[in-house]
């Protein structure tokens, strides 16, 4: 049988907390999250809108891919020195035929750290066999602490989500399912190049809700070429009748290089009008709000507290480990003496990735040390996507000496945006108002400018020479000797 593995299997990891305690790094050391994201990079079919790193191949050597995911997860967990983790497979490794599948492990910030969530992403990870998923989870549990209640999500396609398979995944340790429904209209599904029908999607969601009650999420896409306001309203209504407690609504992004984009840019399909798409978004937000959902991130809605722990860890700028071809990670490689957060990317192409894992234990292709300012930029840009925004406490962990107030309280972009009603800075922190959230990408460039100016000013005041130096501790305030700048080619064990 086909084997799916984690595309972005993600593990979110929480490192130990106190920056003042002699233990390095605030942001990356203290919070009880850690998220591995194993990636299953294979798909059975190419969807017309998808530009992920995914591979459609006739036969996948599932045993080989699976053992590589296991090995890479172990290696990276050891590197991050997480004893306890959360693992997420979100990635590239699951696929139809096979898309990328990977796991993302989320690292908790408390000591002793543990894996707080795991996300199996892709590709199409539901194409992998439950046995492979089980093996990855066992490896994670063996290398770090994986609490019994840690969120373990698997991305599934309706066409590879039979009750039997789903049962198998549950037995393997998966406790949350994210189903790529995309649409409940057969014509729209054909336009998107999906291989399932609306009826199959309904069947899959119903089966999943039976097995993962309260922990089944569905994805929908809106803003398709030719889609009307009414068609979207009808689709939304149907989805509300079907869904559990979590929904992700994605505006279609026409990615260069995809079949759908080529048809639109070539004039064969109409460009979805900006204002219509904005209407669709606002219609959906209102409908979901009245159905009791919390709009907790730009595209994510949950009720009864069913927020995705794993995805929140990205927006909260926590640490995570990407396992599998093309998976991304953000963590401090304590295991090799590093003390600064790194952005890491695993090798994209599955065969090459496997060779690297087999010879070196991991397929890390690029490592970039993130400077304290770069980390703050991510904290800002990601945090503002959520309804909680960037709380003072989180900001302070990354920037103990330059407060949120000091950067954005002074006259400047943020003050103007507050005045215009898009943004709030108060006792809780900095966050978007509901109207501002829909415009976030117009707000961020100005806010980043203001942050960069504030940072440079503070650095000049601290040093008189314009280098940021010690004004931040963040995870990496004090740089460890031996690691500087970007390191390419991975390294490791």
């Amino acid at each position: 049988g086909a084997l799916g593995l984690v595309r972005g299997a993600g593990v979110v990891v929480s490192p130990p907390p106190n920056p003042q305690s002699g233990l390095p790094g605030g942001g990356d050391v203290a919070v009880p999250h850690g998220a591995p994201c194993p990636q299953w990079p294979y798909c059975r079919k190419r969807c017309s809108y998808c530009n992920f790193n995914k591979y459609v191949v006739p036969v996948v050597d599932e045993a080989a891919v699976g053992s590589c995911l296991v090995r890479e997860a172990r290696t990276l967990l050891r590197l991050s020195r997480v004893q306890r983790w959360v693992l997420k497979g979100g990635g590239r490794f699951w696929g139809g035929g096979w898309g990328a599948f990977g796991a993302h492990l989320q690292l908790p910030r408390s000591l002793p750290s543990s894996v707080t969530s795991v996300f199996f992403g892709g590709g199409t990870p539901s194409l992998a066999s439950p046995g492979t998923v089980a093996a990855v989870l066992e490896a994670i549990a063996g290398a770090a602490h994986l609490p019994a209640d840690a969120e373990v999500t698997l991305e599934a396609n309706p066409s590879s989500a039979s009750p039997q398979r789903l049962q198998g995944f549950r037995a393997a340790g998966v406790n949350r399912l994210s189903i790529g429904v995309q649409s409940l209209d057969d014509a729209e599904l054909r336009l998107l190049g999906r291989e399932h029908t609306a009826a199959e999607a309904r069947g899959a969601v119903e089966a999943a809700r039976g097995l993962f009650p309260g922990r089944t999420s569905i994805d929908l896409i809106f803003g398709l070429p030719g889609q009307s306001r009414d068609a979207w309203s009808r689709g939304l209504e149907a989805a509300l009748g079907l869904c559990d407690d979590h929904l992700s609504l994605y505006q279609l992004t026409l990615e260069r290089g995809t079949a759908l984009a080529a048809q639109v840019f070539g004039g064969n399909l109409p460009t979805p009008p900006q204002d219509l798409v904005a209407d669709m978004y606002h219609i959906a937000c209102a409908a979901l709000l009245s159905a009791g959902f919390r709009h907790y991130e730009v595209s994510n809605f949950a009720r009864k507290g069913a927020l995705s722990t794993h995805n929140l860890s990205y927006w909260r700028a926590e640490q995570y480990i990407g396992v599998g071809p093309g998976a991304h990670g953000r963590f401090v490689p304590w295991g090799e003496g590093g003390c600064r957060r790194e952005a890491r990317v695993q090798t994209l192409e599955p065969d090459a990735w496997m060779r690297e894992v087999q010879s070196r234990g991991h397929g890390t292709r690029r490592r970039t040390v993130l400077s304290p300012l770069e980390q703050l930029e991510e904290v800002l840009a990601l945090g503002l996507r959520t309804d909680e925004g960037v709380p003072h406490e989180r900001w302070g962990r990354f920037s103990p000496h330059l407060s949120l107030e000091a950067v954005f309280g002074a006259p400047g972009e943020a003050a103007e945006l507050q005045q215009q009603g898009w943004l709030v800075l108060d006792g809780g922190g900095l966050r978007c108002r509901r109207e501002g959230l829909a415009l976030l990408d117009s707000l961020l460039p100005g806010l980043l400018c203001q942050l960069q100016r504030g940072w440079a000013r503070a650095a000049a005041a601290a040093h008189g020479d314009g280098t940021p130096g010690r004004i931040s501790t963040g995870d990496g305030g004090e740089a460890a000797p031996g690691i500087a700048g970007a390191v390419s080619g991975g390294s490791g064990e």
């Binding site: 505006q251 279609l252 900006q274 798409v277 415009l439 976030l440 460039p445 400018c449």
Partner: protein, 660 residues
């Protein structure tokens, strides 16, 4: 006489420099066939020619003039081949057109000359062909070349007949009182109708039908006859080698190793290496390093004599030292200078900016090098708040501008932003204060920022041109409507035969600088031709139109425009801006205004949604990169009030539209 015979004669002549100038008898036993057609000098390397064997009586200086594509360069190729100046191969296409742009566009931009040797009825002749540019933009080059000639070959396509440029070129030659040899080319074409064309020539130019020579330059048919006509009908130059040196500079090029190479026509005396010469214009003294003829490559000679055409290299460092129209004479033997040329006046101006400001210095040096060889371009430093530092360039016309831009791209690999062309307006000042300030009552306005208020002006003036349009009669209706729409006044309308009409219109120049030619071509299915000549200034109802963003004027978009055209132009600019400015967090009013009066408006609605849908682990790096680039871009944006306008939007609005 056979080709081989002539070649052999040159061999003989070149081998024995003291050969008498008397007609040669050509030995009939010399080899014949293609091998004999090689260039007479090519195997001689640097050996210098003796030009004393060509007295004034055996010299003919002439040009070929024609409408574009009527076969001027092909005829020149054949003449070069027949006279053995170049080898006869299948590859001789536009031999005299050396620039890449000339070959690609099939046009001649830069005048070139070539000396041809031809034996006719036993006499060795030196025929100097001075190739001229075919387009009206370069008519200053044409008149410059014609002043060194005594006659022209007027080439007309046997199928297309007389076209607009044929008319313009004819008058240039006619006014210079040159002998004119009408030649009907392309008689081998299926649709050729030489009788009709002969009648057109008779009707329009008053040249008897029987004087026309019918040829096919492509096939070589009758080309010999053309050479014979050149000898029979064009008079030799009137001058004497015994007189003191008097040389007219009619062109110049710049060579990195040897400095300025000046093309000269000798109106008297002789010139050789070592001579001390003086420029009548600059009074500077030079010593001659090298003289020679162009074949068409430089071919050194011992001397050049009165009536001959060639080049001189004399240690001039800059092209401006070899001013076109200048007269050179021997040190201590001054002569009355030849009547100089009017220097070329720019008719069309455009801003030129580097695409990236870091390229400024590279572009600057490319411009400097290119203008060395094209002194007709005027260059003034300019800067724009939106586009940065750049230049305002003056060109002779639109084609000139395009050609210049293309040469920058091709020869110097520079990519530039070229703004939409404008014309130089004038204002007659009535305010005593302003007159005192400018030191004169009539000022030229190139930049709209300098446009003086109506209250201090007695009248505004705009440049005009006299346009000639030749068209099949079925398009007359549409063309007349087009011309009226462009504020043109009809001056003449003549049927040149049963089917073709020549129209003359006085156009405001600014009405034809942007898209007139393309529109004319498309509404006549390509059949109408157009040419124009400078016709001075006329009074015009000009105004300055401002563009406002949320009420704040955008300096770089202000335009000087005729009152009747303001509404349409304002609407057009507002629409273009609406497409070019990205949506922002608030609504933006884009308005065109004359003084306080708004004449056009577009509204750019506020963004209602602008946030990327997915941002998970794998998307973050890419997302941050894009955001930081946008943050950087924000610092470079031009802020008009609260509206941020990216440089790119200015480029899209200001740039010349080439894809009409």
């Amino acid at each position: 006489m056979t080709l081989a015979g002539r070649t052999a004669a040159w061999w003989a002549r070149l081998r024995s420099p003291r050969l008498p100038a008397t007609p040669l008898c050509l030995p009939p036993w010399l080899p014949t066939g293609p091998a004999a057609c090689e260039r007479p000098y090519s195997s001689h390397g640097k050996e210098k020619l003796d030009m004393s064997t060509y007295p004034v009586e055996s010299i003919r200086n002439f040009s070929i003039i024609a409408h574009v594509d009527h076969g001027k360069s092909t005829l020149a190729d054949r003449l070069l081949e027949i006279t053995g100046t170049i080898a006869k191969t299948d590859h001789n296409k536009q031999v005299l057109d050396k620039l890449q742009v000339e070959r690609e566009r099939g046009i001649t931009v830069k005048a070139q000359s070539a000396s041809l040797f031809y034996n006719y009825e036993g006499v060795n002749y030196l025929l100097n062909l001075i190739d001229t540019p075919g387009h009206v933009d370069f008519s200053y080059e044409v008149s410059r070349s014609l002043s060194a000639c005594q006659g022209v070959i007027l080439v007309v396509d046997a199928n297309e007949g007389i076209q607009a440029q044929t008319v313009a070129n004819f008058y240039l030659a006619f006014e210079a009182q040159l002998a004119i040899i009408p030649v009907i080319n392309k008689i081998d074409l299926k649709n050729a109708d030489p009788e009709r064309v002969e009648k057109q020539i008779e009707k329009l130019f008053d040249i008897p039908v029987d004087e026309c020579v019918r040829i096919s330059a492509k096939k070589g048919t009758n080309v010999e006859t053309v050479l014979q006509k050149v000898i029979e009908k064009i008079p030799p130059p009137q001058c004497n080698t015994a007189d003191p040196l008097k040389a007219l500079v009619f062109d110049s090029t710049f060579d990195h190793y040897r400095g300025v190479v000046a093309n000269i026509a000798l109106f008297g005396g002789e010139i050789q290496k070592g001579h001390k010469i003086v420029s009548a214009h600059t009074k500077k003294r030079y010593e001659v390093n090298e003289v020679g003829i162009l074949t068409p490559n430089e071919q050194p000679t011992h001397k050049l004599y009165a009536g001959q055409v060639g080049y001189v290299i004399a240690g001039m460092k800059e092209v401006t030292e070899a001013q076109i129209g200048d007269t050179l004479f021997l040190y201590k033997q001054p002569v009355e200078p030849l009547p100089g040329f009017k220097s070329a006046k720019p008719m069309v101006f455009a801003g030129m900016y580097p695409v990236d400001q870091t390229e400024y210095n590279n572009l600057k040096s490319a411009l400097e090098r290119l203008t060395l060889n094209d002194s007709s371009v005027t260059v003034h430093r300019d800067s724009s708040l939106a586009l940065g530092a750049g230049w305002r360039l003056g060109f002779l016309g639109l084609l000139h501008m395009e050609v210049f831009n293309q040469r920058l791209e091709q020869e110097y690999n520079m990519s530039v932003i070229l703004t939409a062309p404008t014309v130089p307006y004038k204002a007659v000042l009535s305010s005593a204060k302003l007159i005192k300030e400018y030191g004169k009552a009539e000022i030229t306005i190139i930049n709209p920022a300098q446009f003086p208020d109506k209250l201090s002006v007695s009248e505004y003036l705009e440049p005009t041109v006299l346009g000639t349009i030749v068209t099949p009669q079925e398009y007359i209706g549409k063309i007349i409507v087009l011309c009226q729409d462009r504020r043109a006044v009809q001056k003449d309308m003549v049927y040149i035969d049963e089917h073709r009409v020549m129209l003359k219109y006085l156009f405001p120049l600014n009405e034809i600088v942007v898209d007139f030619y393309d529109t004319l071509k498309s509404l006549s299915s390509g059949y109408a031709s157009f040419d124009y000549e400078d016709a001075g200034y006329q009074a015009a109802d000009l105004i300055k139109m401002d563009i406002l963003l949320n009420g704040n004027p955008v300096e770089e978009l202000a335009t000087i425009i005729h009152k009747d055209k303001a509404y349409a132009a304002g609407k057009f600019l507002c629409e273009r801006l609406k497409d070019a400015i990205p949506r922002q967090l608030f609504e933006i009013a884009i308005q065109a205004a004359i003084g306080k009066k708004i004449i056009a408006r577009e509204t750019l609605k506020a963004y209602r949604k602008n946030v990327v849908a997915k941002c998970y682990g794998g998307d973050i790096t890419r997302r941050m990169k894009l955001l930081k680039r946008q943050a950087e871009g924000k610092k470079l944006m031009r802020k008009i009030g609260n509206v941020e306008v990216p440089r790119d939007a200015f480029i899209r609005v200001l740039k010349r539209q080439t894809d009409k």
